[in-house]
């Protein structure tokens, strides 16, 4: 079963995070990708900061900023393949950055069976 893990953070909490603590966590994130290589189908991407976001809205209107005004912003994503939801939760729980304030991992199952759209 494939899931997308979306790594989110809160800018306000980021600003308040001790840079040393953040640096230590980043080191372990690299290790996390190594350790879980067998479960990661696509390491996905780490995104440039949210200030770089541009959104194209319905009607072709181009605006500055992310698509919503949520407190959390998406910083990156990966595609994983694990047996079930419990395994996906266990993997998400091991994401090193969860030690830092304002960090969250959203789990979303990927559509793989397109027969329902036929």
């Amino acid at each position: 079963m494939k899931y997308v893990l979306m790594f989110t953070s809160e800018p306000a909490a980021n600003a308040a995070t001790d840079p040393e603590a953040a640096k230590a966590v980043y080191g372990r994130i690299y290790q996390w990708f190594q350790d879980n290589a067998d479960k990661i189908v696509d390491s996905g991407a780490e995104l440039e900061p949210v200030e770089t976001a541009t959104t194209v809205k319905s009607g072709g209107i181009v605006v500055d900023g992310p698509f919503n005004e949520a407190k959390e912003i998406i910083g990156g994503f990966s595609v994983v393949d694990v047996p079930d939801m419990d395994a996906a939760v266990a993997l998400a729980k091991s994401w090193p950055a969860l030690e830092l304030p304002g960090i969250a991992v959203e789990i979303r199952p990927m559509v793989v069976d397109y027969s329902q759209f036929e």
């Binding site: 899931y3 047996p83 079930d84 939801m85 419990d86 939760v89 266990a90 789990i107 199952p109």
Partner: protein
């Protein structure tokens, strides 16, 4: 008060014994939780009609199995998904020999589901309640409830929440979620059913479920704690109402009407929990309930022991309602402690002002301290806030016995 017949009780016992097993079995066969659950739900509805009309069949479990299997195949045909499903049919396996219903329960109480959906799904899939029964028992709109169940089932299927007992590392945390659902189930049933009629005794269902959990996971102290707690509370049910259906407070209950066999069973469960050396809030609450259950009267209750247990409970769970109950126990130790308890309760005012039992408890303590006018005012406030008919009548009676001196 209840209009349940003994055949309704037999019917309920059969349904709750078989429903969860059947959902788990059909899931293992078809690997589709939605179809498995729906098929059993339809079989339950059919059974309620047919068994009341024709009497319970000789082999009720077989009857239900046949009906549920037929429904599952109908659902599969109807949804035109036979081929897709056929490819996914897996042999029936239960990983470690644990009761299949426990795996089902962990899925229904999964933290990825909204808390209110966990309760609804558990009642339907594990206990075999119908949606209208759940709506009546919990005083919720049937359509809202049905929607909630549909959404929850869709999430179980689309995110692949498996029917499985969690790994050891997560077991105790996940068990906490399961026990919370059973606890809420009992308390909601306890509150909303007072003085109402129902075709199912949800309190008995909750006791039964707590028992199934503890028996299946015998190394989990809190599972025994909850089973003991609910068994104790349920063992006092017969004395909670007088012949008019009026609520009788613990202090006034006829203790000979308590189910002493159940009480003995519960204290046995508590002893068993204690040997596991993992104390927790359910065990503490059960220990408090056991003190009451073993006391010959309100006056001869071991209040010191109860106050000590509340102290331990409050350290783990300092929620206002626990502190309120702790204060009431403290007040029984003497006038000095009653004054102290009243001060404790008054400190909770800003958080519990909208809770009728806060005002009712305050009234009790004020009366204990001979401050009858203030007690009556607190009772009137409680009366304004309670929506439960039996509790309203209790407070009204109390107000009549203590007429207001200010002429209102």
């Amino acid at each position: 008060m209840t209009t349940r017949s003994s055949s309704d009780d037999r019917l309920a016992a059969t349904l709750r014994e078989e429903s969860g097993r059947l959902v788990a079995a059909l899931y293992r066969r078809f690997r589709d939780f939605d179809i498995a659950e729906e098929a059993v739900q339809r079989a339950v509805v059919e059974a309620l009609t047919a068994w009341r009309r024709d009497g319970t069949p000789d082999r009720p479990a077989a009857w239900l199995t046949t009906a549920a299997q037929r429904n599952a195949l109908d659902l599969i045909r109807h949804r035109g998904r036979q081929e897709a499903l056929a490819a996914r049919v897996a042999p029936s396996v239960s990983r470690d020999g644990t009761d299949d219903r426990i795996a089902l329960l962990f899925a229904c109480c999964h933290p990825a589901l909204a808390p209110e959906a966990r309760l609804a799904l558990t009642l339907r899939a594990v206990i075999g309640l119908t949606t209208p029964q759940i709506a009546r028992a919990f005083l919720v709109n049937e359509q809202t409830l049905a929607q909630r169940i549909v959404r929850a089932k869709r999430k179980v299927v689309s995110t692949r929440i498996e029917l499985q007992v969690p790994e050891t590392a997560d077991l105790s945390e996940r068990l906490g979620d399961v026990l919370a659902v059973v606890y809420v189930m009992y308390n909601e049933a306890f509150v909303s059913s007072t003085g109402r009629t129902q075709d199912r005794d949800l309190g008995a269902d909750a006791v039964w479920l707590a028992d199934v959990i503890a028996t299946s996971l015998p190394d989990q102290a809190e599972a025994w704690g909850l089973a003991a707690l609910l068994t104790l509370q349920h063992g006092r049910t017969a004395a909670r109402f007088d012949p008019n259906g009026d609520l009788v407070l613990l202090r006034d209950q006829d203790r000979s009407r308590w189910d002493h066999t159940a009480i003995d069973r519960a204290t046995g469960m508590l002893d068993r929990a204690a040997t596991l050396r993992a104390p927790g809030p359910y065990q503490l609450q059960a220990a408090i309930a056991a003190c009451h259950a073993e006391a010959p009267s309100w006056g001869e209750t071991d209040w010191l022991q109860i106050v000590t247990l509340y102290g331990a409970l409050i350290r783990r769970d300092p929620s206002p309602v626990v502190r309120l109950n702790g204060a009431i126990a403290l007040a029984q130790l003497g006038p000095r402690q009653a004054t102290e308890a009243l001060a404790d309760i008054d400190r909770l005012a800003d958080r519990l002002d909208g809770y009728h039992l806060f005002h009712a408890s305050r009234a009790e303590l004020l009366r204990l301290l001979d401050r009858d006018d203030e007690a009556a005012a607190a009772d009137r406030r409680a009366l304004q806030l309670t929506t439960n008919e039996a509790e309203r009548r209790l407070i009204q009676t109390r107000l009549r016995r203590h007429p207001l001196t200010d002429g209102s």
